[in-house]
């Protein structure tokens, strides 16, 4: 019964408008993000002035960078904040300026002007480089020495005071410092990174993560619509009672629909990944590099499948719970909150639904975070099963006194 039902539910999805909207929006979005270029794949040369940046977890360096950033923001009198994810420019008044200067002085143990014109003297020296990434790296690489007795915890406390003055969503929120600190790579590090990308990631793996990064943003909300349409189709077509009174168990009905939704939504994602991998495969071959045929596919399965499962399962649960589309708003808030709470666009997976990796490569760094990443995806896979099980229980309850586990799930 289960497999037959699954097949029929898949067929039904193929007749659903919301499914085609899902496919079109997803394909349009992802194809507008991936350009198929391999410019990041050039082998580093020893005489380059800049090799890109990498992230390190160095608290001392992080404090010094943050203090420099704070000093410059005070100097310009402007703070960029993102309360609820939207940009807001905060201008500080004289009283706030003095309070902030005092924080800088307490952290550095020096007068504010000495910090500005001493530690940050280089910042005010013009540069001749035309490499934008290098210029950004140089200016954002400014440091202000913190006093020796200042612990990281005490520094975070001071940054909380800064947040109290400039408001929520600034770069001084301690949780945003979890991402580590971006530092310019040395030649050796650049070579190591290049080798990791060509040997470990075999080119396509590095771009596969970028594909997943973009896709995961869309998949945080997009599956809600076909899933909710699937959950509410009985109500919309006024055929609930006819179906409720049948012999099939609630678990067979709900799980077959859920599985159909997941499979049918995963298919266009998988196909898009396979298609979009082709230019990278081709370019890699022309560069004489050995590319991984499954570079995109393996990441899509590990990265995006648990997300589709979780979002779909939550829609099933909320659809059954509210018997209406209210769940869409809850999930929109969830997706938005998850996206906006990300401390960084690279790594810092934690328990976030949307796993960000908005960069090509950084293979060595990814390998360090792989355990955290796998735990995150595993968590969402388990969570989705709990959601579907709860949805099946609610469905059974709606069917009157129908039990959950009766009926033969595997009957042909």
């Amino acid at each position: 019964m289960f497999l037959t039902l699954f097949g029929k539910e898949c067929k039904m999805m193929l007749k659903s408008v919301s499914y085609y909207i899902f496919v079109i929006v997803f394909v349009w979005f992802i194809s507008s993000q991936m350009d198929g270029s391999l410019s990041e794949m050039e082998r580093p040369k020893p005489d380059q002035s800049f090799y890109g940046t990498t992230y390190v977890q160095d608290k001392q360096l992080l404090m010094e960078r943050k203090l420099a950033e704070l000093t410059l923001d005070i100097y310009y009198g402007n703070f960029s904040t993102y309360p609820l994810g939207f940009f807001r420019n905060v201008k500080i008044n004289d009283a706030e300026k003095q309070q902030l200067q005092k924080i800088v002085e307490e952290c550095s143990g020096k007068r504010f002007d000495d910090v500005l014109y001493g530690d940050l003297a280089d910042y005010f020296t013009p540069t001749e480089s035309e490499d934008m990434e290098e210029v950004v790296a140089r200016t954002s690489g400014c440091q202000v020495k913190v006093k020796e007795s200042l612990t990281y915890e005490a520094f975070c406390e001071k940054m909380n005071q800064v947040c109290d003055i400039v408001g929520a969503g600034s770069a001084y929120e301690p949780k945003k410092m979890e991402r580590g600190v971006s530092v310019p790579m040395s030649y050796e590090q650049a070579v190591e990174e290049y080798q990791a990308m060509t040997e470990k990631d075999r080119v396509t793996g590095a771009f596969g993560r970028l594909f997943c990064d973009y896709a995961s943003v869309m998949l945080a909300i997009l599956p809600v619509f076909p899933a909710m349409a699937c959950v509410l189709k009985e109500k919309r077509n006024k055929c609930s009672e006819v179906i409720y009174a049948r012999q099939a168990s609630s678990i067979a009905v709900v799980f077959s629909r859920y599985l159909a939704c997941v499979v049918m939504m995963f298919l266009p994602v998988l196909i898009s990944a396979i298609v979009m991998q082709q230019p990278y495969l081709f370019h890699a071959r022309t560069l004489g590099l050995s590319a991984d045929l499954f570079g995109f596919v393996k990441y899509v399965i590990l990265w995006l499948l648990p997300e589709i499962m979780a979002v779909t399962a939550a829609a099933f649960f909320l659809g059954q719970l509210t018997n209406g589309i209210f769940g869409i708003f809850i999930q929109a808030v969830w997706a938005y909150g998850d996206l906006m709470s990300a401390a960084t666009l690279v790594g810092s997976f934690g328990m976030r639904l949307v796993a960000r990796w908005n960069t090509v490569g950084q293979t060595v760094y990814f390998e360090q975070l792989k355990g955290q990443f796998l735990m995150n995806r595993g968590f969402y896979a388990v969570l989705s099963l709990l959601f579907v099980l709860s949805a099946a229980l609610l469905y059974g309850k709606r069917r009157g006194n129908g039990g959950l586990l009766y009926g033969k799930v595997r009957k042909a």
Binding site: M1, T4, L5, K8, M12, K15, K233, N237, K238, C239, E241, V242, I243, Y244, A245, R246, Q247, A248, S249, V253, R399, G400, N401, G402, G403, Y406, G407, K408, K411, A412
Partner: protein, 312 residues
């Protein structure tokens, strides 16, 4: 022994030697403070059984309890000896045509029937045989490719019957099946119900007396959650024997007569009208006693229950 819907094991299994009967004892259903069914007791055996009552009488609640869609509050209900709480065993025995039958609009008649057959546990071979058979039985085979959303009310209702009998249940529950059908469609539908009631119980719940009169031998009348009458159509008619009169009256007198007596029919013929009156005694000298029909008996019963003394 006939097994449907399962290849093995006891699940979903029943025997046709099993007696088709429904036993309801002191059934009460409450929705919060409102009592929809009050200590209802009924015995239903094979054949057509009519459940008559006005809108809001509790008929649909009773149907929903029988089809396991609503939990009873108190009392005992069993179908073929199986308590209704055991929905796993009850559902294979029940076919249900709800008041407003519909299916996914973009499915064809054949696909909808096949989908519901899967949900009823029929395997591929069984579906291959039964789906066309049922479509033929309800005269929908030629329109099997018609989408549900394109079907007329009558076609939908016939598809509803096909889905209710697709898994060969012992009991079929049909709730207000003829509402909205044209006369021809209604007669065809009633005949279909009688045909399928030959070897099972068909409970026909309706407020349309004509449907009951044309199809059912045994009936129950439900009003405000209580059984007012349970017996045969003949017994119901007996209650009103000698109490139905016909008279020719002036049209100008109609309003007064309607106020004073229970008028069950008026036929205007210009300045006079022929009225049908139910009353305990002869209403006026020239009123002639006539043969009562089920509608007269039903109205007599209902007015009696409401304490409407005006006509008696």
């Amino acid at each position: 022994m006939i097994r449907i819907s399962t290849k093995s094991g006891m699940k979903g299994e029943f025997s046709y030697s099993m007696k088709a009967e429904i036993a309801i004892q002191n059934l009460t259903k409450r929705y919060g403070d409102k009592t929809a069914l009050k200590k209802v007791s009924l015995e239903v055996e094979q054949g057509m059984f009519g459940l008559l009552g006005p809108n809001g009488a509790g008929k649909t609640t009773l149907m929903r309890v029988l089809t396991t869609l609503t939990k009873k509050t108190e009392g005992e209900v069993s179908i073929c000896g199986i308590p209704v709480e055991e929905s796993k065993r009850i559902r294979p025995l029940i076919g249900y045509l709800p008041q407003e039958f519909s299916m996914y609009g973009n499915m064809t008649a054949q696909d909808a029937l096949d989908y519901l057959a899967v949900l009823s546990g029929l395997n591929k071979e069984e579906r291959k045989k039964r789906v066309p058979l049922m479509l033929q039985k309800v005269n929908l085979y030629e329109q099997r490719k018609t989408k549900v959303k394109a079907m007329s009310g009558g076609m939908k209702r016939r598809l509803g019957i096909a889905q209710a009998i697709i898994h060969n249940p012992k009991v079929i529950v049909v709730d207000e099946p003829t509402a909205g059908l044209d006369p021809e469609e209604r007669v065809r539908f009633r005949n279909l119900l009688c045909e399928i009631a030959l070897d099972r119980i068909v409970i026909l719940s309706t407020h349309i007396v004509g449907d009951i009169e044309a199809t059912c031998e045994n009936i129950a009348v439900l009003n405000e959650g209580e059984i007012l009458f349970h017996g045969t159509v003949m017994e119901l008619l007996k209650n009103v024997e000698g109490k139905v009169y016909s008279a020719e009256v002036a049209v100008s007198e109609l309003a007064g007569i309607q106020k004073e007596y229970m008028v069950t029919g008026i036929l205007n013929t210009g300045s006079t009208a022929s009225v049908k009156i139910v009353a305990n005694g002869r209403p006026f000298a020239d009123a002639k006693p006539i043969q009562a029909d089920v509608e007269d008996a039903y109205l007599y019963l209902m007015h009696g229950k409401r304490g409407d003394e005006v006509c008696f």
